[in-house]
């Protein structure tokens, strides 16, 4: 009888998940520090040394006037923090949805959050092109409204069916996409339409400390809650019958997890537009590394998600002289990566 032997081994690539967590965390910290010194304005150690010299000769008060220091602290630092937060948030929402719906092809926008957010943002952009606060608020409100609509519709049709929930999400998504098309059709093709299109492609270039203060605590709380309750995702992923016989009330937990994930996605999308593929592909990367047990894969998913979006954003702002929209980077890297993971995990059941 095997007792202690393989208790912590995972069916993933690497047996020891603690090593994976340590390595990914190390990479994340490293990438974060490097990201602060990458950008159009200045890169590398030149910036660092100039900041250092200003501090040495003029003290802290001198820093306040130093352009390099300002770029570092009020542009790049919030931007990098937001990239990590949103990357973690979108990936964790993806992992939660995939577990709840027992389907690895589910992404966080299955219940219409992203479609609602996009419509809300477009509406905001048309109503007031300059006030980004309003655009974000509108995106956030419509995102949550879309999910609520999907949940209510599903409830109306059949109380506890997962398939009905997915179909309701499909209906809501289609409606909001159609509404978005109306807005695009009506929008001024020279000013409003490009704004909508760029917003949909996602970017962190407007990131400010204000966004970190607003989204940070809420996304952080959502992440903490999912981490705290992650073992329940294992049980819920067995399906309603088994979850019930193991003593859980699946509909209640499902609503809870959907609410938390939707909040995270709505916050993310309303701060930096739609960023595709992260929510789908990162949970698969985590499962490939440490196996499907949510106890181990949830922390790994969060760390990889943060790292992924941080690096994607670095690429977005350095690849060309103009900034690229984020979804171009995440789509071009995420989709082939997803294909590769499907190939690698072939024959192993769902990844």
């Amino acid at each position: 009888m095997k007792l202690q032997a393989g208790q912590n081994t995972a069916p993933g690539l690497f047996g020891n998940h603690q090593v994976v967590i340590a390595v990914v965390l190390g990479l994340l910290v490293l990438a974060f520090l490097l990201s602060l010194f990458i950008g159009r304005l200045e890169s590398g150690f030149g910036l660092l040394s100039r900041v250092w010299e200003t501090w040495k000769y003029k003290g802290a008060s001198g820093l306040a006037e130093n352009v390099d220091w300002l770029v570092l602290t009020s542009v790049r630092l919030p931007r990098c923090l937001l990239a990590v937060l949103v990357g973690m948030g979108l990936s964790i929402s993806g992992a939660v949805y995939q577990g709840l719906f027992r389907n690895p092809l589910v992404s966080p926008d299955i219940l219409g959050v992203a479609a609602g957010c996009t419509f809300g943002a477009a509406l905001g952009l048309i109503l007031s092109q300059v006030q980004f606060g309003l655009v974000r608020l509108s995106a956030f409100v419509f995102g949550l409204a879309a999910v609520s609509l999907a949940l209510a519709l599903a409830r109306l049709i059949a109380a506890h069916s997962i398939i009905v929930l997915v179909l309701a999400g499909l209906v809501v998504t289609s409606v909001f996409n159609a509404l978005l098309m109306i807005l695009k059709y009506l929008a001024d093709p020279y000013s409003q339409l490009p704004a909508i299109v760029f917003w949909i492609m996602g970017s962190l270039h407007r990131a400010q400390w204000k966004d970190v203060y607003l989204a940070g605590p809420l996304i952080g709380a959502g992440l903490a809650l999912v981490h705290f309750l992650r073992f329940r995702l294992n049980v819920l992923s067995l399906g309603d019958l088994q979850a019930r016989s193991l003593g859980l009330n699946p509909p209640v937990w499902r609503i809870m997890f959907v609410a938390v994930s939707s909040l995270i996605v709505a916050l993310s999308v309303s701060t930096c537009g739609q960023i595709c593929w992260i929510g789908l592909v990162v949970p698969h990367m985590a499962r490939t590394l440490v196996g499907p047990n949510h106890e181990r894969m949830i922390p790994v998913t969060a760390l990889i998600g943060g790292l992924f979006l941080l690096v994607a954003d670095d690429l977005a702002r350095t690849l060309t002289t103009a900034e690229l929209p984020l979804s171009i980077i995440t789509g071009l890297s995420g989709a082939p990566l997803f294909a590769y993971l499907l190939y690698r995990n072939r024959g192993g059941g769902w990844t």
Binding site: P11, N234, L238, G239, R244, S245, L248, P292, N293, E295
Partner: protein
């Protein structure tokens, strides 16, 4: 220590699937639930497991009213081995087994070292320790049933409900699994309630039978007394013979078999 079911009425919509079902099952008993397709076997198991709420009647487990227990409290006493379990993420078998500890964990708690030790011990008890680190989706149907039985044992030492446990098993595995369940009933005072299709398996392994016909109780009681050729004929709606195949061992055959083998 009794599971008592009295005047149970249960169903999904307005039409009851089960009507006026009453029986007692002591602990340490292997009870088979027999009946044709659609006779309400699974519904009865779901009722006993608290998955379905009865419309009427009373379910009592060791003196406790099941309707009064929370889902978590009930899950500590009654576990279910579902008919089929596939299409989940490729969990390791040990991760599936340890989920039997769910009703004992507080909110936000994950299984700890002791829970894993218990899971490994239970797999070992069923001589299935070798399965622990394998992919649950890639093991055979028989091995999967053993893993789910281990999970049920980890969950509850009181009552285990099994929904057609031998459905996907081959000839030898069928007998091994039922034999194991019977041993557990003897050695650990476990109460097992199993919906079974084959009357011979019930006849060979069970101590007690509950016969359901179109949602009503046809008969219930000790296997030896209740399972006569007449009753089995009535239960399945086809003439059935009980014939001695070797000394002290009799088996049921549908009479129409003679039409093909003579």
């Amino acid at each position: 220590m009794t599971l008592a079911c009295s005047a149970l009425r249960c169903g999904y919509g307005r039409e009851p699937v089960l009507l006026d079902i009453s029986f007692l099952v002591e602990n340490g008993t292997f009870c088979a639930i027999l009946g044709r397709n659609g006779s309400g076997k699974t519904t009865l198991l779901h009722c006993l497991g608290g998955i379905l709420k009865p419309d009427q009647g009373r379910l009592e487990l060791d003196g406790l009213n099941i309707a009064r227990l929370s889902r978590q409290e009930l899950a500590r006493l009654v576990s279910l081995v579902p008919q089929e379990s596939i299409d989940i993420f490729p969990f390791q078998v040990i991760d599936v087994v340890v989920m039997g500890r769910t009703p004992f964990l507080s909110l936000g708690q994950s299984p700890g070292r002791d829970d894993y030790r218990l899971a490994w011990q239970t797999l070992g008890l069923l001589e299935a320790g070798y399965l622990g680190e394998r992919n649950f989706n890639k093991i055979s149907g028989g091995e999967r049933q053993i893993a789910l039985l281990a999970r049920a044992l980890v969950q509850s030492a009181n009552t285990i409900l099994l929904d057609e446990p031998t459905n996907h098993l081959d000839f030898q595995n069928t007998y091994r699994l039922l034999g194991r369940i019977k041993e557990l009933c003897r050695s650990r005072g476990l109460r097992a309630m199993a919906a079974i299709h084959d009357p011979n398996l019930a006849y060979l392994f069970s101590d007690q039978v509950v016969m359901l016909k179109e949602g009503r109780l046809l008969a219930q009681g000790p296997t030896e007394q209740i399972m006569t050729a007449e009753r089995v004929s009535e239960l399945y709606g086809t003439e059935t013979l009980l014939a001695e195949v070797s000394r002290g061992l009799s088996l049921f055959f549908p009479a129409l078999i003679k039409r093909y083998r003579s």
